[in-house]
């Protein structure tokens, strides 16, 4: 069942002439994990803001079409109601951290305070959420004394603690090292497996290939591909449009042109690449080793 539905959505920021989103039609089913890819400027963040209600409620501008989440329509709702359904973690955690709190613990409790959650429950939920994202040891630090990667985790935790129906993440690991990235994607995957609906804007294609149920490709404000990761991430159209794809896909595409990739479908992951290229290589014994 669709929990998020975008019907013919077109949007322009205030004082601009060109729409950033053009005729977007998409549905996300309950429990689905959808990745949104595209070059910078393609409209990924704007799409995240739109699902999360910041467009148009906060950014204003001109929107046509309809955005529905769990049966209510964005233009007919208030942002403070809307955020109970949809949680958004911003790309830049600086833009999200309230600046009103001295500790990470209080920062994460901020949203719960605003909706009047009882104190005992609030403490419990904050502790649980921090444990989930592995930041319990940061509880007493100032949000501003943290590294970019740590701040991103605080921003993510402060959304998770609200238990939204839909989680929207705008490049949640852009400032993290590989280990941080791995841990955060592990958390997101665990949430998705528990049935959370996740919309993730992301450049890191190898993670998407392994985790997402579906990939939506945005280019200049339009959806140009929407389907299974293995189809979308290997499509020639995306390669032509300059999308960042996995090295396995790019090298196999070149190898195919040289007659050294025999399978119909190009690989996205390491395992698929190993499987496909093994067909090209002579058997290890035949290589004279």
């Amino acid at each position: 069942m669709a929990i998020v539905e975008l019907k013919n959505v077109t949007y322009k920021y205030p004082l601009t002439d060109t729409p950033v989103l053009k005729n977007i039609n998409a549905q996300v089913n309950e429990g689905e994990f959808v990745a949104v890819i595209g070059p910078n400027g393609a409209g990924k963040s704007t799409l995240c803001y739109t699902v999360a209600g910041f467009v148009p409620h906060f950014f204003k501008g001109e929107i046509t079409g309809a955005v529905e989440v769990a049966g209510s329509e964005s233009s007919k709702s208030n942002l403070h109601e809307w955020v109970l359904n949809v949680g958004l973690a911003f790309q830049n955690p600086f833009n999200q951290i309230s600046g009103a709190k001295y500790t990470v613990f209080e920062e994460i409790a901020f949203g719960l305070e605003n909706i009047g959650v009882p104190r005992e429950e609030m403490i419990q939920r904050v502790n649980d959420a921090m444990k989930l994202t592995g930041i319990s040891e940061l509880a007493d630090r100032s949000p501003y004394s943290l590294s970019g990667g740590q701040q991103q985790r605080v921003a993510l935790t402060s959304i998770l603690v609200m238990r939204p129906k839909v989680l929207v993440l705008d490049e949640p690991t852009s400032q993290m090292d590989p280990i941080g990235t791995r841990e955060v994607f592990g958390v997101i995957r665990a949430l998705a497996e528990k049935g959370m609906t996740v919309i993730l804007a992301e450049h890191k294609v190898e993670w998407i290939a392994n985790f997402a149920d579906r990939v939506v490709a945005l280019h200049e404000g339009e959806i140009i591909a929407d389907g299974k990761p293995s189809d979308v991430l290997t499509s020639d159209l995306l390669a032509e449009k300059g999308f960042g794809l996995s090295r396995y896909t790019s090298v196999a595409r070149k190898a195919k042109a040289m007659g050294m990739w025999q399978k119909e479908r190009l690989p996205v992951t390491l395992d698929e690449a190993v499987e496909g290229f093994t067909l090209t290589l002579p058997s290890p014994k035949g290589r004279g080793e």
């Binding site: 070059p39 910078n40 400027g41 790309q91 590294s147 990667g149 490049e171 852009s174 400032q175 993290m176 090292d177 590989p178 280990i179 941080g180 450049h203 190898e206 300059g242 999308f243 960042g244 794809l245 996995s246 090295r247 396995y248 790019s250 090298v251 070149k254 190898a255 040289m258 050294m260 390491l270 690449a273 190993v274 290229f277 093994t278 090209t280 290589l281 290890p284 290589r287 080793e289």
Partner: protein, 265 residues
């Protein structure tokens, strides 16, 4: 202009030992990538190269200058530093003025300044944006302005801290091209990066750091092939290096060209 670092130790005022005995020579014109987990000491190390940080013990020598004996302002003639976050370094009302600030500050005459600015803008594909306020540009292009403003200073040594963070494929290709042009001009380029594929494709020498020490230092293929050692500082080898290994290639490969050559063998 060689960089000579000998037995460098550094402790932050909090007592954290960030560098624990680094000795290193980087020769003029080398292209070096520094990799390793957050907290390994990468940024602390490069901040010693232009005197932003001073050794607790040991020495850092840039050509014939010991960084202890010269101001950061003077070190800026030899070492350019592009910060990870462009917003930490941009402040002018338009791109042209921003990029001219560095060379003008170094005392170049108007003609030299103009030449440096034009070249740096051409290299970063910003020539049509000289009149634009940097903060009206997207984060992608602000990154290029930050690159241009340092390149325009024409220093022998250029440092990039995480140049590809948050960049898309098209801009990563532009940044790779900037590094290539700098190499052709004989500049020394030192880059901190978590983007290991970018590292494999653009750098001949790789240094892996862990807990304030150098773990590995050598030719990119030799370093990137050591999967087990790299794992201790949470670095995975590049995708194509891993693929080559899984396919049983005898030699370590680190880019498409080497991989395709390996496939033909």
């Amino acid at each position: 202009m060689n960089i000579e670092i000998s037995n460098l130790h550094f402790a932050y005022p909090t007592g954290v030992q960030a560098l624990r005995g680094i000795s290193l020579t980087i020769e003029s014109g080398e292209q070096v990538a520094i990799v390793g987990q957050n907290g390994a000491g990468k940024t602390t190390l490069v901040k010693h190269l232009n005197g932003l940080l001073q050794p607790t013990s040991g020495t850092v020598q840039i050509g014939d200058w010991n960084t202890k004996e010269h101001s950061v302002a003077k070190m800026a003639r030899r070492v350019g530093y592009v910060f990870q976050n462009p917003d930490d370094q941009l402040f002018s009302k338009n791109v042209g003025i921003e990029v001219a600030f560095g060379p003008r500050n170094l005392g170049m005459n108007a003609e030299q300044v103009q030449r440096q600015v034009n070249e740096a803008l051409a290299m970063t594909e910003l020539s049509d944006k000289t009149e634009t306020n940097p903060y009206d540009l997207s984060a992608t292009w602000r990154k290029m302005v930050a690159l241009a403003s340092v390149i325009a200073m024409d220093t022998d040594i250029v440092i990039f801290d995480e140049p590809t963070t948050g960049q898309d494929a098209a801009n990563i290709a532009r940044i790779a091209n900037v590094i290539k042009v700098l190499r052709e001009r004989g500049k020394t380029v030192i880059t901190i990066t978590h983007d290991i594929d970018f590292c494999g494709e653009n750098f001949a020498r790789v240094i892996a750091m862990s807990q304030g020490r150098i773990l590995l230092d050598g030719k990119a293929n030799d370093v990137l092939g050591q999967e087990d050692v790299l794992a201790t500082t949470y670095v995975d080898p590049p995708q194509l290096t891993r693929l080559g290994k899984r396919l049983g290639f005898k030699e370590t490969v680190r880019n498409e060209e080497e991989f395709l050559a390996g496939l033909k063998k």
